[in-house]
Symmetry: C2
Subunit: 416 residues, 2 copies
């Protein structure tokens, strides 16, 4: 019998208690031992909860109870969650979390501390909700050198983009709808500005390349400036626009970025819609593999947490010793050096003159035909492949040219 | 240091040796020990091989060498591979295989024997090539009751169907092309008749439902009767036709089948093309999750085998004790009882008369509009949802009706 304590009785925490109760029999079979939630720590009152007898406001009930071997942290943030995680590890308890912020910020320290205390620190639920991705990266693809990762890592933004693309809603309408449906927070900043996706690609990259990738160094752009016009041009180009977190390792340096990207419809990520997430991993032996599923939600996320608990129970004596080394040299490449193509949309006074300016600045480009383009004195095109910094300079030249009214949008094109 | 022997130096076996050599450093890091291939057993001569010093024709070099802890079986079939597997397990060696035929046929016995001898028997590479699916089912989704599985499990047939659907080639042309490209064997029976997919869905179902699912009891239909006309009607219905292996567990009984299915284009399986495979798993907590990647090929399959080796090295003392119980009662439901809808295509003498016959037999149906239909005196429709056996009886009624020239096709519709 393994006793577990859950920190935080919010959506994920209560989901964990529910899944362990509901599937007790099959979970015991797979874990080889029975798993019981002994305590749930939360400062709030839940007098009507079916779990009220487990609830406590006293952290001693968790940390000073030696029978509790596993602590599940679902508090979130880097404050008390950080302190409790260190306390649990120092007391020889395994810790499992869904807290991407904490893992992305203090992962190296917490993994090292866990290894020193011979306990596990697992965080499958921190990326991709229920989708198994951390364990596959660590184990199933262990024979591969991972070269690149690209993922739709945030369900809120993917829901908004799907509403824009499929149903012609503008960004603000789609955002309000996401909020009404509970897919977006009252303050949606972390989602729509890409911060959430940024932490997730940092965690995935740290695992894939076996060294810490600091999320604070990842260039991150959100989706707030996307318009239906961009969606339309993407469609004319056989693509859809998604918020993509991606990274690749080239010559020992890691390129990472988060931002909207045009994805060709034949790419497996293009068909990932609504609140679903998906991650494509490129390994040198396996080629491309994709993992797809619900990226958030009570039971999917709880499913990932409980899988971590079962893993701890099965391999209690072997903590796997995953450590993210912190590279002494700068391990991140300047993302301006990454070669890419840009989709660029211009508002112009005169299309013929503007076309000449574009040709002079960008050389040969691929024009996107469109009815909007004719009607609105707009131009949209796909640039050649160049270093991102060079492309940005060229965009600036256009911005400064009085013949160009506005550079209304520029978005990366996701390469194969 | 862990010594490994590889049985069979074919595509997969040589790939395993190659991947272990190539990624030696990162594999050692992840496994926590160095992994070396000490012997490769094959009766053939490979004088020009870079691995010729490892090659032996004498099985004693493998089975009587106590330093070899892990045996990789890539021989295939249920003959000598079966004998060698039992010999290795009895000698206390862990066994890893890509041999779906052996696992589907003798899985229960071999897993039990492995548990008794306290060694691992792993077979990630037996389904989905490089795609991590067995380990995710066993571990990552361990918190879930799995309700259903549906997968595109055979790359050869998916390549053929993609050629038919996207490029308008007929079945025989597409098959010849698959053979010319090395995607299909000279004798393609096991692929195109669905036998390969059948073994794979049997293995996945055995893991998902934690009891042995005998592949010999799974109703299996191949793709040889599919025509471009069927592809066309599917397209008009917003769908594509794929060879799908699927199973579900309802009230303790397992329904399983392999056959062509109409898949709505919004379903994630619909976009899986060419030689790619994908498996959708439905769990009670996670909802739908999909695993996608290369279902065959030298390095992808080797990637899965080597991941199994690393897993054994990391958890040598803990064999996980996965056992497929053999249910004493019949655990398979009669697939004729499974409710489904059928796509049905008819050649008729008179469309008005035939429409009436269809209405009288099937009640309300969904007619698929088409130009072919008008030109060729064809009718195509989607039936209501009924038990498969009832639908087959109704199809028989049509066949026996002199007003119906031919029931030219009937195919299941994959439900959500």
């Amino acid at each position: 019998m393994i006793f577990v304590a859950v920190l935080g009785y919010g959506v994920v925490g209560s989901g964990v208690v529910e899944v362990i109760k509901k599937n007790r029999l099959s979970i015991s079979q797979r874990a080889g031992e029975e798993i019981y939630v002994k305590r749930v720590l939360d400062i709030r009152d839940f007098n009507d909860s079916p779990d009220r007898e487990l609830l406590t406001k006293n952290s001693d009930d968790v940390f000073n109870d030696d029978s509790i071997k596993v602590v599940v942290e679902t508090i979130g943030g880097t404050g008390i969650a950080y302190e409790f995680t260190k306390l649990a590890i120092s007391k020889g308890k395994h810790v499992i979390t869904s807290n991407k912020e904490l893992v992305a910020t203090h992962g190296p320290e917490l993994l090292k501390m866990a290894a020193e205390n011979n306990v596990h620190y697992h965080f499958e639920a921190s990326v991709g909700g229920g989708i198994p991705i951390i364990r596959p990266l660590n184990n199933c693809l262990a024979a591969n050198e991972i070269n690149a990762i690209a993922g739709i890592l945030n369900g809120t933004t993917n829901y908004i983009l799907t509403q824009m693309n499929k149903h012609g809603k503008d960004f603000n309408t789609a955002l309000r709808e996401a909020q009404a449906n509970g897919y977006a927070e009252a303050d949606p900043t972390a989602d729509i500005e890409g911060h959430d996706a940024c932490r997730k690609i940092a965690i995935l990259s740290s695992i894939a390349y076996n060294e810490y990738v600091d999320y604070r160094k990842i260039t991150t752009v959100g989706i707030t400036k996307l318009t239906l016009a961009d969606m339309h041009y993407a469609e004319m180009y056989g693509s859809v626009i998604k918020l993509v977190g991606r990274s690749k390792k080239v010559d020992g340096k890691i390129y990472a970025s988060v931002g909207p990207a045009l994805i060709n419809k034949s790419h497996p990520l293009a068909n990932v819609e609504d609140v679903f997430n998906a991650i494509v991993v490129r390994g040198d032996a396996i080629g491309d593999a994709m993992f797809y599923g619900r990226g958030a939600g009570k039971l999917p996320t709880a499913s990932a947490v409980v899988a971590d608990i079962i893993d701890v129970v099965k391999h209690e004596d072997n903590n796997g010793k995953n450590i993210w080394t912190i590279n002494k040299e700068e391990n991140m490449a300047d993302s301006d050096l990454m070669e890419t193509r840009f989709y660029i949309r211009l508002k112009v006074n005169n299309r013929d003159i503007a076309e000449d300016i574009v040709k002079n600045t960008f050389g040969s480009v691929e024009w996107i035909p469109s009815e909007i383009r004719a009607a609105k004195e707009e131009l949209a095109f796909i640039s050649g492949k160049e270093a991102e910094g060079v492309l940005k300079e060229k965009v600036k030249e256009l911005t400064n040219n009085p013949q160009i009214k506005e550079v209304a949008g520029f978005i990366r094109v996701l390469e194969d």
